[in-house]
């Protein structure tokens, strides 16, 4: 859709109503699927609030990837930075409580970001290579540190091991938007089509939220503001689009990219801190590829914070549905089937008959699967988030526009 002829404010209004319509459409789709496949929990507040929480580390990793790539560095080391963040959060969280965990995650991630900056900005080496090296190295670093600082430490009955820390305290209260919780709960329990679904979704997004979720989600608008509304953001984006031109205009590309990578690492590390506060301790391997999923969300979101958040929510929602005990998984698969059929109608409406035919075959196939399998095998449920991410990337990737200089090492003085 081309909105370029509108003024900034008009565009904001149009986008606002578009996203409201989209949200309405998604909830309608889920409500229908929940009704057809006997799974009211699909839009239940518990599914939604779990999904919102699980999205946080993916969103933060994605924001980290966004800042790095907007500055011109492809950061595949996010996973490693998040791992370093989990260790830092485990250590400082164990000693100083929840705020300590957040600081520890931030610091751990920044260390990872500094390593990547040293390799890719100062020494200008291949960015993917350096990122992969950080992912491998961070595993060893954390295991070694855990063997010294966690193994056998802590109090009686709460001893750390090489694979996990002693327990970490979380914030004692949780965040709720005042006054709306009870009426929404009442409405949700009525099981009225669509109205109760809306109540469930809104309640899931506003009531009984972990403080870490609430605080860390504030980074979505913060990163948007930093990158698109400040002088630093302008320098950052110019380093990622045309570094030579930026340098000839007086932007220090090297410093800008260093700053971007420190922030990138810090954000990924905060994602790790969220995981530690959620599990109440550091565990080896607790990031489970979320750093990579953040990258996927960033690409899905076309290097924009808002869309990135939606991508991460899509992933975490399918994961959260997998945790539900009823028929929710097959209802979600059914919803995907419906979505394919709608996509087919859209394709045929715009005269793209081949894509339409493919979509309709896939749609009916998926619906048939959902109709014939009441419960979905546990291992398939676990694959669902990855599968959906691939499908979404396959649908979305062709229209993407990454920053022009992302992934290309820059050597100072290239402007000549």
């Amino acid at each position: 859709m081309n909105l370029s002829h509108l003024t900034g404010r008009e565009r904001t209004v149009v986008l606002f109503f578009l996203s409201l319509t989209a949200a309405y459409g998604v909830i309608l789709l889920l409500a229908v699927a929940g009704l057809v496949f006997e799974a009211p929990g699909l839009t239940g507040s518990s599914t939604v609030s779990t999904a919102l929480g699980l999205a946080v580390p993916v969103i933060l990793a994605g924001l980290g990837g966004l800042i790095a790539e907007r500055a011109g560095v492809f950061n595949i080391g996010l996973e490693g930075m998040m791992i370093l963040g989990t260790w830092g959060a485990g250590y400082l969280g164990w000693h100083y409580g929840p705020w300590g965990a957040l600081v520890g995650g931030l610091l751990g991630g920044i260390v990872g970001g500094a390593l990547l900056a040293l390799a890719t900005v100062t020494f200008a080496i291949e960015q993917t290579v350096a990122g992969v090296a950080i992912n491998i190295a961070s595993l060893g670093i954390c295991r070694y540190l855990a063997s010294i600082f966690f193994d056998g430490k802590g109090s009686e009955g709460d001893l750390g091991t090489i694979a996990d820390s002693p327990s970490v305290r979380n914030f004692e209260t949780r965040f709720s938007v005042p006054f709306i919780g009870d009426p929404l709960l009442e409405l949700e329990n009525k099981q009225w089509f669509l109205l109760s679904d809306f109540a469930g979704v809104i309640r899931g997004l506003t009531v009984d939220m972990a403080w870490s979720t609430f605080l860390l989600l504030l980074f979505v608008p913060a990163v948007w503001y930093l990158v698109w509304r400040t002088p630093f953001g302008l320098r950052l984006r110019s380093s990622g689009e045309k570094p030579a031109a930026a340098e000839s205009l007086g932007v220090n590309v090297i410093t800008t990219r260093w700053a971007a990578l420190l922030m990138s690492g810090g954000l990924a590390g905060l994602g790790g801190a969220w995981l530690v506060l959620d599990s109440l301790k550091y565990q080896q391997g607790m990031t489970a590829s979320r750093g990579f999923l953040g990258l996927a969300a960033m690409i899905f979101g076309n290097w924009m914070p808002g869309l990135l958040t939606i991508g991460a929510l899509l992933f975490s929602f399918s994961q959260s549905v997998g945790f539900q005990l009823g028929f929710e998984s097959r209802a979600l698969i059914g919803a995907v089937g419906f979505a394919f059929c709608l996509g087919a109608l859209w394709s045929i409406g715009t005269k793209r008959f081949i894509s339409g035919a493919i979509a309709i075959i896939m749609g009916f196939g998926v619906l048939l699967f959902a109709a014939t399998n009441k419960t979905i095998n546990d291992s398939l449920t676990k694959a669902l988030p990855y599968l959906l991410t691939i499908i979404v990337l396959a649908v979305a990737s062709k229209r993407q526009r990454p920053p022009a200089a992302a992934g290309i090492p820059y050597i100072k003085g290239q402007a000549g």
């Binding site: 390799a119 290579v129 090296a133 491998i136 595993l139 063997s147 010294i148 691939i390 396959a394």
Partner: protein
């Protein structure tokens, strides 16, 4: 000779720096680095230790070759971790189900592994070519999906790959004698797997394909300069698909030493090691994607693994080996890049000086 020195110097430099860093870490955490290295050396430098390192190094080599061949085209196949596990499971199932005379049985099983690995990897190539999906991300997602697919096929009542006779292993049925790769007993209990020969063949094939064929030239050209290769008539889409097929085929062989050698498991199951694909990435980068460099890196990696097992005896965490591997990799990629830039700059300077000298000679004449 000069060439060898040129490529060895940065490697030795990186190794020295990595050991220095690891020593620093050891000293800071209150251990004597010399004690640690002595214990590691002691555990490695026995007949048994060296043979084990070679057996494990062969796996690492094949894992790294799978990554390196794709990296020659600048494509990151991060999905080898899923590819080799899928391949190992299917090969183990087929290998246990068929009855054939010895060499043929092994050949069929290996073919199944190669085909399964290539098929799983081809998804990455197809999605990149048709839908422009970033291959790194597809690879990561497919690793996650592979784990689920394996868990599903192992336990599903329709396929039921699990051996009901050995529930404690959670493995496929064992492979009969005719389907096994032979092993060579050396000395008392050291056992050299013939899988090592397979790994050497993979290396030779890799070298011939990449450096001695038209396809290999196109592959390297596409990696070095995609637009130049395209204008020279190399179809990037076709290259992408073939590269992923080759890389996946190679990845399919990673687990075959474990599945088909009689001193290992002879099946695919819960005890099958899960991180060889990721190790292969590091080893490929360390060996600079060259068949010989990768071989040295694989053996070094395996030797560090083997040495680390000796650290328990002196009360030092074995994880120092992982730190060594990780920091070695990180330092090595930096040193290689800086070294290469310096060599290129020196060559340019030398050429410039030669031109200048020739010009002055001309002017004076």
């Amino acid at each position: 000779m000069n060439n060898l020195k040129k490529s060895l110097t940065p490697a030795v430099l990186a190794l020295g720096l990595a050991f220095a860093l690891a020593s620093l870490v050891l000293i800071v955490s209150g251990h004597n680095p010399l004690d640690a290295y002595r214990a590691m050396w002691k555990n490695f430098a026995s007949f048994d230790g060296v043979i084990t390192s070679i057996n494990v190094g062969a796996r690492y080599y094949v894992a790294a070759a799978a990554v390196a061949i794709a990296l020659k085209m600048n494509v990151f196949n991060i999905g080898t971790n899923g590819q080799y596990q899928i391949a190992a499971m299917f090969a183990a199932v087929v290998g246990a189900a068929i009855k054939l005379p010895a060499p043929l049985h092994v050949a069929v099983t290996l073919t199944v592994a190669v085909a399964a690995g290539a098929a799983w990897a081809s998804i990455i190539g197809i999605l990149q070519v048709t839908r422009k999906v970033n291959p790194v991300l597809t690879g990561i997602m497919l690793n996650g999906i592979a784990a689920s697919v394996i868990a599903y096929l192992m336990q599903s009542p329709w396929t039921n790959f699990r051996d009901p006779g050995r529930p404690e292993y959670g493995s496929t049925r064992p492979i009969p004698k005719s389907g096994q790769l032979p092993v060579f007993k050396i000395g008392n209990d050291a056992v050299l797997q013939s899988y090592v020969v397979l790994a050497v063949l993979v290396g030779v094939g890799f070298y011939l394909l990449v450096y001695r064929t038209r396809f290999g030239f196109d592959l390297r050209a596409s990696g070095a300069n995609p637009s130049a290769a395209r204008s020279a008539g190399v179809d990037p889409k076709r290259m992408m698909i073939i590269t992923m097929l080759l890389s996946g085929a190679c990845a399919g062989l990673i687990g075959m030493g474990i599945v088909l050698s009689s001193n290992d498991q002879l099946a695919y199951g819960d005890r099958f090691p899960g991180g060889l694909g990721f190790a292969g990435i590091g080893i490929a980068l360390l060996g600079r994607n060259h068949p010989i460099g990768v071989a040295a890196a694989a053996l070094l990696w395996a030797a560090l693994d083997q040495g680390a097992r000796g650290l328990v005896t002196v009360g030092i965490p074995g994880e120092i080996a992982v730190i060594l591997q990780g920091s070695l990799l990180f330092i090595a990629v930096i040193v290689y890049a800086v070294w290469e830039r310096k060599t290129i700059a020196a060559t340019i300077r030398e050429a410039a000086a030669r031109t200048h000298a020739a010009r002055t000679a001309e002017a004076t004449a």
